[in-house]
Point group: C2
Chain length 494, copies 2
């Protein structure tokens, strides 16, 4: 059928692209590198947003909105920031169009040139710190704990839907603190919020840790990250939280009167996750039949397909199911009842598998006779017949089971994909197989660059936790033999 996906084993990358389009998640737009997020994809993103937003508010944050456009000069205020990544961006140079000479189109009006060019925000540290400067006078004005839900734009050369797009949707938290300790604690706290969200909502296990200097956010003192492992053995950086020190406060002269009456620069953090999480979700769970969604993010959690001949059977089944649907809904479970007689049941089954609906219920003439219903779960593709009267309690429990099972399955895969190696030769062999590798590194950017050049592997992070016995003990760099404090996490990545 037209909806068939390229199998993962054949071409993982093509499978991903097929799935994004065929499951109606997103599509390319006529603007290079920008995607249209279709209603079904957007409904999943909305569920992510709601869960994240709740967690941000529970940890004391408020939302605000800052301008889309940033004066060009702001970008060069923090030297490392502009050096690091602010160059590939959309530049607004004019503010008016006019009708062309032939009267059938528009051209840029050369009279309407901006004095200073404006940049479509690639991230908002600069404009926000220029604003915070006016909000902060004394320690009493601190902390500031703001988050922004916004679109941002980075002119990436090679783009892929959700994973790397010129425009993407994200949230960016920007906080201001009185002390270094408080800011560091905030940056770590938000990383844990991301980790909790990834594991308990997305069912995506992540390794939390700190980035090497090379991989750090441009302008940060420390970058914390959550790293997930995709089914093809590549890592996906899924969220980052930055301790910015006083770098942006100094660049924008944001000082405050401290408790002793002196003046200090403000301490800062920023942290963000984006629609890239959709990529993590897809590539962690989905299979050759399509999307597999954890119940907590599924726009439709349960689909019910009646199989009938003629209106009498149709009505008899509907009558039986109506109270069950009502009860499921009353428990906050989202249910779709699909009695469309234009489409065959097999077609519907394939469609709902493609869309990743966690639970499918199916009732036919024999079920009607026997007082049973068929329950199919999307995560492991098993089916079972149960008593109709048990449906609600069964489904309620099943949704919890599926959520847990998806995390367990992904965690088992991830854990089985963490290896340790001690020699660079071994590293070169193992990295070809995919997965995470814990290895010793001498801590220098030179060795890191060499490894990247020779193997395409990067240091994903220095993990906070221990994953394999002894990985926190000192050793010798696999490349140079110089001393290493602990093993660090390598992988090829998206």
């Amino acid at each position: 059928m037209a909806k068939e996906l390229t199998p993962r084993a054949e071409n993982y990358s093509q499978w991903y692209n097929d799935l994004v389009v065929k499951a109606d998640l997103a599509e390319q737009s006529p603007v290079r590198g920008c995607m249209v997020i279709k209603p079904y994809g957007y409904a999943i993103w909305e569920k992510m947003q709601a869960e994240l937003d709740r967690r941000f508010k529970e940890t004391g944050h408020v939302n605000a909105y800052f301008p889309l456009l940033i004066p060009k000069s702001f970008l060069s205020r923090e030297a490392e920031h502009v050096e690091g990544f602010a160059k590939e961006c959309a530049v607004v140079t004019h503010y008016r169009l006019k009708t062309n000479e032939t009267g059938d189109g528009v051209v840029v009006d050369p009279e309407a040139k901006l004095e200073e060019e404006l940049i479509v925000r690639p991230t908002s540290e600069t404009i926000i710190w220029n604003t915070y400067k006016g909000w902060i006078h004394s320690y009493r004005d601190l902390p500031i704990l703001c988050n922004q839900w916004a679109n941002v734009m980075r002119w990436e050369m090679r783009t892929r839907p959700f994973l790397r797009t010129a425009e993407f949707l994200w949230q960016e938290g920007h906080t201001a603190h009185e002390t270094r300790e408080e800011a560091e604690a905030e940056a770590q706290k938000m990383l844990h919020v991301y980790g909790d969200f990834a594991e308990n909502v997305m069912a995506v296990p992540v390794i939390k840790g700190v980035k090497s200097e090379t991989e750090r956010f441009a302008g940060a003192v420390d970058t914390y990250t959550i790293e997930a492992l995709m089914q093809d053995g590549k890592a996906l950086q899924s969220g980052t939280s930055h301790f910015l020190g006083q770098n942006f406060a100094k660049a924008f002269d944001a000082q405050f009167q401290n408790r002793e009456g002196g003046m200090d620069y403000v301490w800062a953090t920023s942290w963000g996750v984006s629609t890239r999480l959709m990529g993590a979700l897809i590539m962690t769970h989905s299979d050759d039949n399509g999307l597999v969604l954890p119940p907590k993010l599924a726009p439709i959690q349960v689909v019910i397909v009646p199989i009938f001949k003629g209106d009498d059977q149709k009505n008899a089944i509907a009558e039986k199911l109506d109270p069950i649907i009502k009860e499921l809904k009353s428990k906050g479970i989202s249910v779709k009842y699909d009695d469309d007689s234009q489409k065959r049941p097999g077609f519907k089954f394939a469609e709902y598998e493609l869309k990743g609906i966690p639970v499918r219920l199916c009732m036919g003439a024999r079920d009607l006779e026997n007082g049973t219903i068929e329950v199919a779960r999307r995560d492991n593709l098993t089916k079972e017949s149960i008593n109709l009267t048990d449906t609600v309690s069964y489904v309620e429990k099943l949704l919890v089971d599926i959520q847990a099972n998806m995390l367990k399955k992904a965690l088992d895969f991830r854990n089985a994909s963490i290896k340790t190696v001690d020699t660079y030769e071994e590293f070169k062999t193992e990295i070809e197989k995919g997965g995470f590798i814990l290895a010793h590194w001498d801590g220098t950017a030179e060795t890191e660059a060499l490894i990247k050049e020779e193997t395409k592997a990067t240091i994903r992070c220095v993990p906070f936790d221990s994953y394999i016995a002894g990985d926190k003990e000192p050793g010798k760099c696999m490349v140079t033999g110089k001393p290493s404090k602990c093993r660090v996490l390598f992988a090829r990545s998206y």
Copy 2:
């Protein structure tokens, strides 16, 4: 005190600007015409969004996301659309910056010039219809009922916070239909959703009607509008819904196979409200003491200020109030308990009045003795002492009362501000006094333009409903004496 506002009677415009800044709603940004929406202002907008989004979904709509940037050529596809308003917009011409010669700043890289310029969306009909074209093949693909929450940009020359800003936040619904009737019904349905929201959530009474051809959205066949009246007698267009006919479908060649097997162009609507609603909210209800918020949109509905000397009193009051706060919260009422001993109660009262908190509770030593509590309502500034034990039920009812009272007050003012006039002389006198005027008009753009030029008044709409006896009866144009079908609504406007 520093927070004092310019009185409305002295300078209404300055009062508005003062209020926006001093109540922490928004502030100017360094980017011309773009504002920073501060957390308190954004929290109100979030409540509006949630209420609107729920209504959109209840009427069968889903959210999606389309690109920020639109290829320049798209804008000229629908001739009236580009002629009407798409010219004053931010134009992206380059996609890269580079370090300047002195190495201390960035300049636009002339090598990175786009082949075709991109426009920051002023509205999304063009990019969306270019997309819908691919989604629609047969009548079975219809209707499409999408909404988008997004930022848009129009390079306005004179800007005012919320009312007219270069960048603003909004939602834009874009729907596609099989028949003219269905599309027209959709456009009207969504106008009624806006009207219901304005009146029942914002407590802002609106007049619903259809725009004259001159005031119509560029590219629409009909534009429906909700018009509110501000305290200074000027009208504010608060939301519009457009029946677009087949104009955009023709411009983007979006055809579908109809039920008879032939090909038809798709029928379309679009509809939007924006952060401009914040301006309507402020200018309908607020007073010289600050913001007045309807309970349904107040981020904090109830503030409680204990008045105490020493920790014993502080603790005794807290102990009494703690169960009341818990009970209020359990009923979904948002409560702030402010026992900050650094600030005087009078300072707090002024601050919460400025912020428009609907209900203020205050408990002091005497209340503690008598088992009473003082209740102050923001809408009419009255105070009352009640039994402490009655607090929860009293407050619950009071919030409903305040919501209703605010609508009634605004409605009484609005209704008292609708006049009829029969001569143009009378019109010229009355329009100076502010308010709506129902008058006869000959239906020509020439007369409309003359009236606008001579009086600065525009036709706000041809109202659906009757507001003054006989206003739906035919008559003679006040300017030309030519026949008129019914009275139309004039006002000076924002």
